[in-house]
């Protein structure tokens, strides 16, 4: 894969999308993990912009720094150097308390393994981030029910995650991510653990959410169907963004997709 330098310029100074508002802006982000004497460079100067209301897919092989990048734009960890702005706030400047505030309200995270809290009902899982945000139990409950109904889980409010199918669990995880009306919904391989049909439903759901709630969706994925329906695709390799393209400009018959 070759690096397209014109596209890189686009990342820093958007021309075509100049009128749009940036929700996430990462500038020359480096992340180094130290284990003993070993240094691992997970990110080596990643730069990217994510605009409000877009549906972005991020592609990258295992070990490319994709997880680390996700952690950065989800305010889950700070960069070693470089800037990460979430809704125009530099997360490197925030103390743990403020980071918690940001994570709680600005970002909705859908983990690959869903990571629902097994001892809680679906509704309690969804109201938990609202509790963290300081919302009173009653309004939180009402909003939780509303979100779960929106995601077609109105009948499963009081079920435990273990009683649900994989697709339903993921919907609960999405509902939980949407609980505090975040700017960005981050989804880590949302279709990886789902069968074809459920995966397709999940893609439709993301589009529905984007349309109805105006939420920005960022998904790490290798799923061709998902890539093809996104607004934009970023490629990450060796800790850098190496390509940025619209699906219409991408040859999906290329070997990298199969």
């Amino acid at each position: 894969m070759t690096t397209d330098h014109t596209l890189f310029r686009n990342l820093v100074e958007p021309t075509e999308d100049g009128g749009r508002e940036r929700v996430i802006h990462a500038v020359d982000v480096h992340k180094v993990y130290r284990t003993g004497t070993q240094e691992t460079h997970a990110l080596r100067g990643a730069t990217l912009e994510i605009f409000r209301g877009e549906y972005l897919s991020i592609m990258g092989p295992s070990g490319s720094g994709k997880s680390t990048l996700f952690n950065m734009i989800g305010a889950l960890s700070k960069p070693t150097s470089g800037k990460v702005y979430i809704d125009q706030v530099d997360i490197a400047e925030l103390d743990p308390n403020e980071l918690a505030w940001l994570r709680c309200r600005k970002v909705g995270y859908v983990f690959q393994t869903y990571d629902l809290i097994q001892v809680m009902t679906c509704l309690e899982n969804v109201t938990l981030p609202m509790a963290f945000a300081g919302i009173e139990p009653e309004p939180a409950r009402e909003k939780g029910i509303e979100i779960l109904q929106l995601l077609g889980l109105g009948e499963r409010l009081l079920h435990k995650p273990a009683e649900l199918s994989g697709g339903q669990q993921q919907r609960v995880a999405i509902a939980r991510a949407l609980a505090n009306s975040p700017e960005v919904l981050l989804a880590d391989e949302p279709t990886a653990n789902l069968d074809q049909r459920t995966g397709q439903e999940m893609i439709d759901l993301f589009h529905e959410l984007k349309r109805r709630l105006g939420v920005t969706i960022v998904a790490a994925t290798h799923d061709l169907k998902m890539l093809m329906r996104s607004d934009r695709i970023l490629w990450i390799e060796d800790g850098r963004i190496v390509r940025d393209a619209r699906p219409s400009d991408v040859d999906f018959s290329a070997a990298e997709f199969h």
């Binding site: 009128g19 295992s62 400047e93 403020e98 918690a100 940001l102 983990f111 981030p129 963290f132």
Partner: protein, 351 residues
């Protein structure tokens, strides 16, 4: 609008601190759902505290029954001294003259003798056995024959020592046992046994040595029980915390403050500490009471409990407090470790 110069920092308010009630509700729910697991943790705390409480209660009870122990010791010694002169008393006759109040040691000796199935306890006229010592083998005799054919004559209480001829009762020799042996003039044929023989220097040294060893043993048992308690509780709490690292990470990703995570675990530890402490303290005390009930009987035990009531109540409270404090201490490290966890560590999935 897209801005070319990013503001370095917007006004980001701090995440609100949640009221304790939220943590309590989450913990209560967690305990209810993971009931089996919670019970195992609870059992760890309960057993630790019960062990501690059993040891402590035993100390109090032992003090309470110490007088009784001493009495038994005296009675045993008197009995042994008597037997050393008479040989086994099974089926033999004994004579008794007594008046005035008997001391505890004398009463014990009589009770012991009737247990030994002496054939007859022949009473000198005027000797009336008071209510405490009712021997079914007691037989009232006349002045002429009350010592005849007896293996030994007991002179108890403040009864005056009968004349030598009366004691011999026609025989050529007789064993006379009295708590006031010194007042008997040595006469041919009379073997006088002093029931009040003070313990010899050797016996006293042995007793001191035994008491010393007992103190050491007690200190050792209390120390070990404390250690067992601490380790048991620490282990239970560590287990229950580590198995939930994943949930903690998830909560942190959802915006939970590290302080809240710490609170969660400390609240749970306090729950376990209170419940385990109460169960363990009460259970441990009952167990100790049970083990003392058998050899000492209810009346004596009640007296011992009454005597040490203050100490026991203090120990009950102390054990509950110990349960809570130890649980909290044991949870402190894992709770802090959980709170320190970087939220990103929850994302173990490899993308």
């Amino acid at each position: 609008m897209s801005t070319m110069t990013e503001p370095t920092r917007n006004a980001i308010p701090a995440q609100p601190k949640l009221p304790l009630g939220v943590a309590v509700a989450i913990v209560r729910q967690g305990i209810r759902i993971r009931l089996g697991r919670s019970l195992v943790t609870l059992l760890g705390v309960t057993l630790g505290i019960a062990f501690l409480m059993t040891t402590l209660t035993a100390q109090v009870l032992r003090r309470g029954v110490a007088d009784e122990e001493a009495l038994r010791e005296v009675a045993n010694r008197r009995y042994a001294v008597l037997l050393s002169e008479t040989g086994p008393l099974l089926g033999k006759n004994l004579s008794l003259v007594a008046s005035g109040p008997l001391d505890d040691g004398e009463r014990r000796l009589l009770a012991r003798l009737s247990d030994e199935r002496v054939r007859e306890l022949r009473l000198r006229p005027g000797t009336v056995l008071s209510g405490e010592v009712v021997s079914p083998r007691a037989v009232q005799k006349t002045l002429d024959d009350w010592t005849r054919g007896s293996t030994a004559v007991l002179v108890l209480g403040n009864a005056p020592m009968p004349a030598a001829t009366e004691l011999l009762g026609g025989a050529s020799k007789q064993v006379v046992a009295s708590s006031r042996a010194a007042s008997v003039a040595p006469t041919d044929g009379l073997t006088v046994v002093g029931l009040n023989r003070p313990p010899s220097a050797e016996e006293q040294a042995l007793a001191r040595h035994e008491a010393e060893r007992e103190r050491f043993r007690t200190a050792w048992i209390v120390a070990v029980s404390l250690l067992v308690t601490v380790i048991g509780i620490a282990n239970s709490m560590l287990m229950s915390v580590t198995e939930r690292f994943r949930d903690i990470g998830t909560m942190r990703c959802l915006g939970a403050l590290s302080g809240f995570v710490r609170t969660l675990f400390l609240v749970e530890a306090a729950f376990m500490g209170v419940a385990g402490g109460v169960l363990g303290a009460v259970g441990g005390m009952l167990f100790a009471l049970g083990t003392y009930l058998l050899p000492y009987g209810g009346t004596l035990l009640l007296a011992a409990v009454g005597q040490g009531a203050g100490a026991l109540v203090l120990m009950l409270f102390g054990s509950v407090v110990a349960g809570v404090v130890l649980s909290l201490l044991a949870a402190l490290y894992p709770a802090a470790a959980a709170a320190r966890m970087v939220p990103a560590d929850a994302l173990r999935s490899t993308v």
